[in-house]
């Protein structure tokens, strides 16, 4: 057992945990996006007859969020997600602190031409995302699911994105997310030991375009709602 622990310890093992939790959060983000795209379905699409005759966007979004809260398998996945986020952050802290400790005296001249800005600033980008996640959860999750103050989630979302600076904050969080995904997906596969050249080449492209598409789709939601 002593060695099996190495799966999540050591400089290599800790990156396994980073990768697994990160990729799980990415998986959640896909589902989360699909759900929230309901918010930008044009009104002309309603009523949707083949699906329980949903009358309008308002009902559809609230039915969807009601389903999320009351369907128990989703509750389990949600707890796995909270754990993944917590582990990802703790592991990020451990890795970053250890890497700071490993650094010698600062160089007088630093040349950054050999790596990308994103790859060097995953901790900073992650921290922006972390602050964003806390704010985001207080705004919606806490009000709707925990305190149960707000029952009409659709209205809450709509009101939130009528405030222009809220839209700005969300866009910043989403851009940070896109950056994090682009390097994160590539890095995660490397951490887990995917080494054939051809596969890694494909993964690099997937990471880039996936990150771009995710960020774009997330980004248009607050903007469309603001002008609605």
């Amino acid at each position: 057992m002593a060695i099996k622990k190495g799966l999540f310890k050591t400089s290599v093992g800790r990156k396994n945990l980073m990768a697994v939790t990160g990729l799980f959060i990415v998986f959640f983000l896909i589902i989360h996006l699909i759900g929230n795209l309901i918010l930008i379905i044009p009104d002309s699409f309603f009523p949707i007859e083949f699906w329980n005759n949903v009358a309008n966007q308002h009902d559809m979004y609230n039915a969807y969020s009601h389903f999320l809260v009351h369907f128990w398998p989703i509750t389990i996945v949600a707890w796995v997600l909270y754990a993944a986020i917590a582990l990802h952050i703790i592991d990020a802290l451990l890795i970053t602190l250890n890497n700071w400790k490993a650094k010698g005296e600062k160089y007088a001249v630093i040349d950054n031409s050999t790596s990308t800005w994103i790859s060097r600033n995953m901790g900073l980008i992650g921290t922006i995302i972390g602050i964003f996640i806390v704010m985001h959860m207080v705004q919606f999750w806490l009000q709707y699911k925990v305190l149960k103050i707000e029952h009409d989630l659709y209205n809450l979302v709509l009101e939130t994105f009528k405030i222009w600076w809220m839209v700005v904050i969300y866009e910043i969080g989403i851009i940070a997310l896109g950056f994090h995904i682009v390097h994160g997906i590539e890095s995660a596969h490397r951490s887990l030991g995917i080494y054939p050249k051809k596969i890694m080449h494909i993964i690099k492209y997937i990471a880039l375009y996936f990150g771009l598409v995710m960020a774009l789709l997330y980004a248009i939601i607050p903007i469309i709602l603001y002008f609605k």
Partner: protein, 249 residues
């Protein structure tokens, strides 16, 4: 040509160091960077000052002993070159060059530009070998190895242990160095017996020596004089994970 050098001077690991400025003129652009330091040292010696200490040995790019970070770039601006193979023609006449030692906690400064890289030796000692006797060249030739695998193993074996990967890494990780050594032996039949113990031992020693964790910025592979690939690190991670799952305690 003329150059202004800002060179890191430090008496030993315990004292603080600082950059000291030196002006050199009448340099030939065909000089290697180390020959230029020799010229500087001759001048310092004549003046009775302590010469600038720096590491070097073969001066032909094969031993891995020379180091230096020049204007923030490990081994200078050429990329995939050692400092001894970097010539003054890579710089502009009149340029100011910052010359600093390889920096990492695992590489304490001995004096000036000389650093202690024995931490890398201890990583090798912990697993970068095979314990079986493989004989002489005729026996080696009788071991069937596919040409591509032999080439790939040789590409990894080419690592000269210079430490430029560590010096350039924002995490001071020696992942590229360890991956070269792990990959070299994991690819060959002679390395199979200790394949699993080796990677676990070398990664563990890497951590104990105080090197950081790789976050795949890729800067190491851009400066490595032997062009060890970033994919070698992924391969090491594969070897490590395979070993951790399969090895019997």
């Amino acid at each position: 040509m003329k150059l202004t050098l800002k060179i890191w001077r430090q008496d030993n690991a315990k004292t603080k160091g600082k950059l000291v400025s030196y002006d050199l003129s009448d340099l030939s652009s065909d000089m290697s960077f180390l020959e230029m330091l020799d010229v500087l040292n001759e001048q310092l010696a004549v003046k009775g000052e302590r010469v600038v200490e720096f590491d070097h040995d073969c001066r032909e790019g094969i031993c891995g002993q020379c180091s230096l970070v020049i204007n923030g770039q490990a081994h200078g601006p050429e990329g995939h070159y050692t400092t001894c193979q970097t010539h003054l023609r890579s710089f502009k006449d009149g340029e100011t060059l910052y010359v600093e030692p390889f920096r990492a906690n695992a590489f304490p400064v001995i004096r000036d530009l000389k650093v202690d890289r024995t931490s890398m030796d201890r990583i090798i000692q912990s697993g970068g070998y095979i314990s079986s006797f493989t004989g002489m060249a005729p026996e080696a030739n009788s071991t069937p190895i596919h040409h591509d695998i032999a080439e790939s193993a040789f590409d990894s074996a080419a690592c000269i242990g210079c430490g430029a990967c560590v010096a350039t890494c924002k995490n001071s990780s020696a992942a590229l160095f360890v991956s070269a050594k792990v990959g070299h032996l994991a690819k060959l039949p002679q390395g199979q017996v200790e394949r699993m113990e080796r990677v676990i031992a070398m990664v563990t020693t890497h951590d104990d020596e105080g090197f950081g964790s790789c976050t795949h910025t890729g800067a190491c592979a851009m400066v490595c004089p032997q062009e060890v690939q970033l994919l070698d690190i992924a391969r090491m991670n594969f070897e490590y994970n395979r070993a951790v799952c399969l090895v019997k305690d």
